[in-house]
Symmetry: C2
Amino acid sequence: MNTIAVDAMGGDSAPEEIVKGAIKAKNLGIDVILSGDKNLIEPFLNNTKIPIVHYPEVISMDENPARAIRSKKNSSIVGAMQLVKDKKASAVFSAGSTGASLVAAIAVLGKIKGVIRPAIASVLPSVNQDIVLLDSGASLDVKPKVLLQFAAMGSKFAEVIFDLPSPRIGLLNNGEEASKGRDLEKSTYKLLKSSKLNFIGNIEGKDFASDSADVFVTDGFTGNIVLKTMEGTAKLQQSMIKKSLKGNLFKPLLLPVNKALQPVRDRLDPDKTNGAYLLGVNGIVTIAHGASSSEAVMNSIIFSSKTVEKGFISKFAETISEI
Amino acid sequence: MNTIAVDAMGGDSAPEEIVKGAIKAKNLGIDVILSGDKNLIEPFLNNTKIPIVHYPEVISMDENPARAIRSKKNSSIVGAMQLVKDKKASAVFSAGSTGASLVAAIAVLGKIKGVIRPAIASVLPSVNQDIVLLDSGASLDVKPKVLLQFAAMGSKFAEVIFDLPSPRIGLLNNGEEASKGRDLEKSTYKLLKSSKLNFIGNIEGKDFASDSADVFVTDGFTGNIVLKTMEGTAKLQQSMIKKSLKGNLFKPLLLPVNKALQPVRDRLDPDKTNGAYLLGVNGIVTIAHGASSSEAVMNSIIFSSKTVEKGFISKFAETISEI
């Protein structure tokens, strides 16, 4: 069984873009189940046969996640988690509120034994291959022991998903020296140094361009700021480039140059990438940007399916018990 | 009197690049004094007449700043600060260790009355105009009251340096809503909301591309990570673009396209920009990237000189007493 439970109501253009993405994935041979309001989903299904579990409530982006999950037992995200809990699906995909996905996952699936705090692992493009940044927003304020667990979870993630035998782990810090950082980084450095992980030391934001680490470890506040700063900087540079090309290039050249730059824009566009993974809960949960297009939804569902095939969760549970 | 004291020994290619930059500034009519080892500086001066104060000790990038400033009373950075203290210069420029500049500034010049912690304000490019990010590395762990002061210092800085009557202040956070962030951001939000500053609310990393704020306020750890992530992301995208253009563009077009992109690379290159300002100390202190070229050194010296002309420090002192 390799079925992906899709939260049909989560996302800026839900359910339309989500259902369309699910149909695209279905047409590629992936089994999907939609969780959400039957009446709102069906009009977009046309003749495609995808099962729906009717969970009519929706949690919006600006609701308090903990309160919303407590009060809306019939929300689409809870329904998607329940499908995995009941072994009717192997993974959850949602483009809805990250906070709600996190709280729902903990409430319905539970944390993996030994995990102190879950983390969001974001897969990001780098020079030669993808890298993992975690935590990118699940746990804002953490202790050194929690960062050590994040490092172990990120290491296992990169090992299984990227097929790397010994992923290079870096601690995001404000300098390379062991003495750098807040008390959090100084203590975490020592824990990582004496762990069995392939810890390469402190790394900096500029190392996103240097291919020096596979896993970037930090707290959820810093990770979230980093993720969005990358998004902002990429867009800022693109708008500067647009202006500069217009001002400095012979006009007929603009079209081919813009076309040649499109792959880069796509690669750095969070709406088009494979999303992020919730690590530390008893199930595979993939979360995506609220603005995800049907294409991005399809890509995330494909990726979730591959993650299931790789036996990620069972390999993962061992990791935590080993720390 | 409008003389800039230049730390001739600070920087990866000091004293050569620094002295060359000072000569370029001098040739544009700016008075400079060099602080450092006379014997190492003179060979690069050729026939240019620039006064030198002999401070033979050098503080390297990897020394503990506090310990180094205590033990090396004759270091070039201390000498530069002393020139301002003795009213022989109006501002300090250094491309050496940021930590050493910070500690030397506090030790020799002292903090402005009322300032709890100094901050580093970095001037960064944005869509239509420059913006200020502070703190970008002076005070890693701070209290809400300190962030409020950073906001006030950043506001006055943008007002004087960018000629903005009422700079828009944003608090860097992991979401827009008032409820977002760690305890630090939640408490600071309230302080900013009830202050006289033009506080526009929480802003995110993606807002670096949105022209929504003039001043980005955060703690020194997060600010430093943001600064370097911007650097890393810009370089990553440039290397992706290079590859994509090579693969997708007719070869004779590469040269003109690369030329048209050069202004963007320059604008996002921290080695070529105007550096950063140490705010909250009794004097103008400009610090630059260790890898600064002589051109960057010259630009920073010009900028320091303009800052002196604008009467920055006297305007600044009022601000703090008003909070």
